[in-house]
């Protein structure tokens, strides 16, 4: 159970100072790792199995969500032995559609954004209602957003208590807490918000909604991974990580995996502990996998437009 909020807790989270130059140096090293062909093949498949295949648009239709579910279950018809994606990620209204498309005991999880996504600026009672309804319609995971306005105003108590309340409403569903790092301004804030979310009971911390630029970057991901590492070393409890938004290429996805492996170790190289919030990266992963399979460079036109 999370501790009740005290100003001392807040001071502890906000105490952290991030060395931006060192973070940049470490992430730039990650992008230069040489990865051999066999490992790359394994990482491409692993990355595919870690994707939360996402559609969060005002123009989402039931049929689009059904198509997304089909793609999540079998990313490429020609290669049925490829892994399915970890989950689909949709708006709460689309959860029943996804549940119907995937069936009751699907290996592909259903993640629903909630709590007034993407801004998080609705009353707490409505946030909890939204979470309950998403779970009742069949969501396995909840992606909540924090109230960035409150965080930036220094009202850590509000942010903290909201996460605790949402976590309680989630029950058995895993809770991912979106920090929206693009709106937090500094890496120090990212570090503080990560610690706050973890202390409040987040199962996953997630970078972004995908609606704000910059979305996920290697730098903010590393800062968040360090918070996870610190928590693990102190308590032995694993917390998951989900960079989301802006990850469009297989190459970048592999950079993320290298960053995770080098920061947290290979225990985190599992869809249970690491996810990509993305959609277009799947096509590039399939592109690279086909290229390895056939030796040719397939056209982007061979893949479905999500």
């Amino acid at each position: 159970m999370p501790q009740p909020y005290t100003p001392a807790l807040s001071a502890e989270w906000r105490r952290v100072r991030v060395d931006n130059a060192m973070i940049a140096a470490r992430t730039s090293r990650v992008t230069k790792r040489s990865i051999k062909a066999d490992t790359k093949l394994r990482l491409l498949k692993l990355a595919l199995s870690m994707v939360d295949l996402t559609t969060l648009e005002g123009q989402d239709t039931p049929e689009k969500v059904r198509a997304l579910c089909r793609k999540a279950r079998r990313p490429m018809v020609e290669q049925p032995d490829l892994p399915h994606t970890a989950a689909v990620c949709v708006y709460p209204n689309m959860v029943p559609v996804a549940r119907q498309a995937l069936g009751p005991n699907s290996p592909v999880k259903i993640a629903s954004v909630a709590t007034g996504f993407p801004s998080g600026l609705i009353p707490l009672a409505l946030k909890l209602k939204e979470v309950e309804q998403a779970i009742a319609s069949g969501a396995d995971e909840i992606d909540m957003v924090i109230d960035r306005g409150a965080f930036l105003a220094g009202d850590d108590e509000k942010v903290y208590n909201e996460i605790i309340a949402v976590k309680a409403a989630c029950g058995a569903a895993r809770l991912k807490v979106i920090l929206e790092t693009g709106e937090l301004g500094t890496l120090d804030n990212v570090a503080a918000a990560s610690r706050l979310a973890i202390a409040a009971g987040a199962d996953f911390i997630k970078t972004s909604t995908g609606k704000v630029k910059p979305a996920a970057t290697l730098d903010v991901t590393l800062v968040m991974l360090e918070a996870i590492r610190e928590h693990y070393l102190a308590t032995g409890v694993q917390i998951g990580m989900k960079p989301a938004g802006g990850i469009r290429t297989a190459k970048l996805a592999i950079h993320y995996l290298v960053l995770v492996a080098e920061t947290l170790g290979s225990d985190w190289l599992d869809p249970k502990w690491f996810r990509f919030g993305a959609s277009s990266v799947v096509n590039d992963l399939l592109h690279q996998l086909t290229r390895r399979e056939t030796g040719t460079y397939p056209s982007p036109r061979r893949y479905s437009v999500d």
Binding site: T296, Y297, S299, P300
Partner: protein, 280 residues
């Protein structure tokens, strides 16, 4: 007092930028001034990246009006004319190239009227066909055709609204770069014309496995027999258009240009049979 002239770096032209090969590799060659120089060796990854860039540039270029494309090709002719002495080739070659650019500039807004048709059909439909860009064209002109060969390859692909990748062998890299400089100042959008330099046969071998190339236009007889067979076979597997071109002294006719276009046919109900006449 003799002046020490500075050496020019012979780069490739990709996505509207003058860049070195991603591989960092170069091939030795001799410049037009007789000095030793190094030319970028275009790699598999260069071609892969260029295909991606050319694809993203193709849409907007193909959507431009023929008239606008014609203006831009005419602008290319102006730029060539300004630089007659800048090209490491004969003046006749440059003048022939200028004339060729003007020739193709003229076709831009006329070729679709010439190749589009109103087709006679039995039922009450208006049925017409029009030309649409093919997409990305991979061009391998004969080095013996000099600048004219390159200009002919570039312009014939541009007339039909395609983007293209021009492959230039090491011994013509300076000439290719000079053409790129003219193109760069001609309002041709970045990524529409891309120039790779290096070993032609190995770049063609990579092009063969690039599914996203819509056509390969190569000078007839330039490749060895087995290389040409590979182009045909691999092209057939992805329904790629292959065109073995004759000498560049002869410009592409509109009917030949049609090889670099798709035909789109539209059926529209004319309503005549339903109403028994044109009552609406």
């Amino acid at each position: 007092m003799s002046r020490l002239r500075i050496q020019k770096t012979i780069k490739q032209y990709i996505g509207g930028k003058f860049v070195r090969s991603e591989s960092g590799r170069t091939l030795p060659a001799t410049s037009s001034r007789g000095e030793a120089m190094h030319v970028c060796q275009g790699s598999r990854k260069d071609l892969r990246n260029t295909v991606r860039i050319a694809r993203s540039a193709a849409g907007a270029w193909g959507a431009r009006s023929g008239f606008n494309r014609g203006q831009i090709l005419y602008r290319l002719a102006e730029m060539l004319d300004d630089r007659i002495t800048a090209f490491p080739t004969s003046e006749d070659d440059v003048i022939a190239s200028i004339d060729r650019a003007v020739y193709h500039a003229g076709w831009c807004d006329k070729v679709s009227a010439l190749l589009s048709t109103l087709n006679p059909v039995q039922q009450a439909y208006v049925n017409y066909s029009m030309v649409r860009p093919l997409g990305i064209v991979f061009c391998v002109p004969d080095p013996k055709d000099g600048l004219l060969g390159m200009v002919e390859a570039v312009c014939s692909a541009l007339v039909m609204g395609n983007s293209l990748i021009l492959v230039v062998p090491v011994e013509r890299a300076e000439l290719g770069l000079a053409l790129a400089e003219a193109l760069h100042t001609s309002d041709v959008p970045g990524g529409v014309v891309n120039i790779l330099t290096g070993d032609v046969a190995s770049l063609v071998a990579v092009a063969n496995i690039m599914d996203d190339l819509d056509a390969i236009v190569c000078a007839a007889g330039l490749l060895a027999k087995e290389e040409a067979v590979a182009v045909e076979i691999q092209g057939a597997s992805v329904l790629r258009r292959i065109w073995w071109r004759g000498p560049a002294t002869k410009p592409a006719t509109p009917h030949e240009l049609q090889k670099l276009a798709e035909i789109k046919t539209v059926w529209m109900s004319s309503g005549a049979d339903i109403t028994g006449g044109a009552s609406y």
